[in-house]
């Protein structure tokens, strides 16, 4: 039974209001009382006592449509904990507001200088808003810079969530209006991407992206020649489970620069999985969606197709830690397989096969996908760069990372061991001295060049400036009794590598090892 509360309820009229409510209840079912507070402006303790008495006779009582002033009173007096109190949704209009972002489930508008609202396009938005809030909270706790909404509002027929976002502009806007900041944008964009991908998510908290992509592959399989279809599904199936975080919709409209801080604003697509799935969706965002019609990217991101392609290419290079065009193309091809699979499925599900234009688009993607399937045997890739906490416990992980690259290059046993010794020496040095007694990270990059086959391994840390090569070599001719323990490792490194160099630049120690294989 619904009862409306109006105006002010205080000691002047509390008794009359109570009498009125009891009269209304006498005729109806008192098992369920809903107090509609849409027009309630104020309630004093006399009014609260009326509600308490009602609650005693009807434990399931709830109060709905409570405005923020009344909500504050109910909250302060502990009523929000004693009974169900539902806030009224503030009504917000986005007419004439600047669209500053766009995610999978809605658009983001700036409503005033300090606040933005994300308007959800689907009907069941309250559940989605709740979901996204939980995703954002989880990400924030795990160390990903993001904004969490503080209010839910009504926008026309749908709902929106409100965030505080001061003086912010999206990376898309920066790329569109300040092209000279391209390299800065790439660096920040890739730094956050690496951070996301190095975040381990507790089991069961986020959906598995592999399952989603497997669903796309199985759908598209039926529209491909039998062998190609089977191969597509097998490629996705062969990607191992990975419990690292993926963003799922990582493009430049979802990244905001607020003062000096970079924030992610669209978190409803968070998942876990192998990073190739992320690269697939990034390829689509910058290239795939607009490959046939370059106007699309201009409309969506505000910058042109050339800028998008350059940004994607530079980001991929920075993410992989390589400038080798061959390696970039190799990984891009894997990303394109996932990208085209998604585009084909999406178009078919949107009745694309029923129009001339749709069929042409699907044929375009299909042709490329078939070519790629022909030349690709795995979706897996390794980054040439590893960022890892510099502690000796991580030595095996560093060695495994380096060895993976050496094996791919067919490195002989002897050289492998020599490189291992050098890598150990440099990494353990960083672990022991660079940040002591604090902790910090080291970046290890492995690059292979052909003719002659040379492996170059670079270590970067931002600890105290220290040149390990400056140390005097130990005298290896001394007898056991005279030998000092220190300095041996660096000496071995110098002896067994073809080149070892050190420099200190922009606050970083950079040590480079070179070995001809």
């Amino acid at each position: 039974m619904k009862i409306e509360l109006r105006g002010r309820i205080d000691s002047n009229n509390a008794a009359a209001v109570e009498q009125d409510i009891l009269t209304q209840l006498a005729g109806g079912n008192a098992q369920e009382i809903i107090l509609d507070a849409a027009d309630l402006e104020y309630i004093s303790s006399a009014g609260l006592r009326v509600i308490l008495r009602l609650k005693k006779s009807c434990p399931a009582l709830k109060i709905v449509n409570v405005n923020s002033e009344v909500y504050e009173i109910l909250d302060m007096t502990g009523f929000t904990e004693m009974m169900t109190v539902e806030k009224a949704y503030r009504v917000v209009s986005v007419e004439g507001c600047e669209e500053i972002g766009r995610g999978a489930n809605g658009k983001i508008y700036r409503i005033d200088q300090d606040n933005v609202v994300k308007v959800y396009k689907n009907a069941d938005a309250l559940a989605d808003i709740q979901h996204e809030r939980e995703m954002a909270k989880l990400a924030l706790i795990l160390g990903i810079p993001t904004a969490i909404s503080y209010d839910v509002v009504k926008v026309g027929d749908s709902y929106g969530s409100v965030f505080e976002l001061l003086n912010a502009s999206s990376f898309s806007k920066i790329l569109a209006t300040e092209p000279e900041k391209m390299d800065w944008c790439v660096k920040e964009y890739v730094d956050i991407l690496k951070k996301i991908h190095s975040t381990v998510v507790p089991a069961g908290k986020l959906p598995d992206m592999k399952e989603t992509v497997l669903g796309w592959a199985r759908f598209v399989k039926d529209y491909l020649p039998e062998e190609a279809g089977k191969k597509l599904v097998a490629l996705v199936e062969a990607v191992p489970h990975d419990d690292h975080m993926l963003h799922g919709d990582y493009h430049t409209k979802n990244l905001e620069l607020q003062n000096d801080e970079v924030l992610l604003i669209d978190m409803d697509t968070l998942a876990v999985g192998h990073p190739i799935f992320e690269l697939g969706s990034m390829f689509n965002a910058f290239v795939g969606f607009s490959e046939q019609n370059h106007e699309i990217i201009q409309r969506f991101q505000g910058f042109d197709f050339d800028t998008a392609q350059i940004f994607w290419h530079k980001s991929l290079a920075a993410y992989l830690g390589t400038s080798s065009e061959r390696k970039l193309r190799e990984v891009e091809d894997k990303a394109r397989i996932i990208g085209y699979t998604r585009l084909i499925r999406r178009k078919i599900r949107r009745q694309g096969l029923e129009t001339e234009e749709g069929r042409a688009q699907i044929a375009f993607w299909k042709e490329r996908l078939l070519k790629l399937l022909d030349t690709t045997d795995t979706l897996l890739f390794t980054r040439s760069e590893l960022e890892i906490e510099a502690v000796t416990e991580n030595l095996p992980a560093v060695q495994a990372f380096v060895e993976e690259h050496l094996e791919a290059a067919g490195c002989p046993m002897k050289a492998k061991m020599q490189i291992g010794v050098a890598v150990e020496e440099i990494f353990v040095n960083i672990a022991n001295y660079a940040y002591a007694p604090e902790k910090g990270t080291a970046t290890v990059r492995v690059e292979l060049s052909e003719q002659p086959v040379t492996v170059t391994i670079t270590f970067v840390d931002h600890g105290v400036p220290y040149d390990p090569l400056a140390k005097q070599d130990p005298d290896v001719k001394l007898s056991a009794e005279e030998r000092e323990i220190g300095g041996l490792g660096i000496f071995m490194t110098k002896k067994m590598m073809d080149d070892v160099s050190y420099c200190y630049r922009d606050g970083h120690n950079i040590l480079t090892l070179k070995k001809n294989l």
Binding site: Q418, V421, E425, L488, G489, M492
Partner: protein, 99 residues
């Protein structure tokens, strides 16, 4: 990973090392040796299955060698080519007894 298979009889011991002797695993060998050394006069280290040694491993060998020098002897057997090269580069092949 490092496995140490110990074979001890009175004052004679053979430690067979399997795997990697590096910064992470050297402390394990160091503590095993520290415990056994005082009562030994003959120590043999079997390197047949040792795949890798770094300076951290060399340090343990050097201090074991010094500790044994007073009351016995230490020798290395079955040293493979790549490990042998490390001993040569560092002059350890001159210090240690290697068969």
């Amino acid at each position: 990973m490092l496995n140490i298979i110990k074979n001890m009889e009175k004052d004679t011991a053979c430690f067979a090392l399997e795997g990697r002797l590096d910064t992470v695993t050297a402390p394990l060998l160091e503590s095993e040796l520290k415990e056994a050394l005082p009562s030994l006069s003959v120590l043999t280290l079997d390197f047949a299955k040792l795949e890798y040694i770094s300076s951290a491993g060399l340090r343990v060998l050097l201090s074991a060698h010094k500790a044994m020098a007073g009351h016995g002897s230490m020798k290395l057997i079955h040293v493979n080519e790549t490990v042998m090269e490390i001993f040569e580069v560092t002059g350890f092949s001159e210090i240690l007894t290697i068969e």
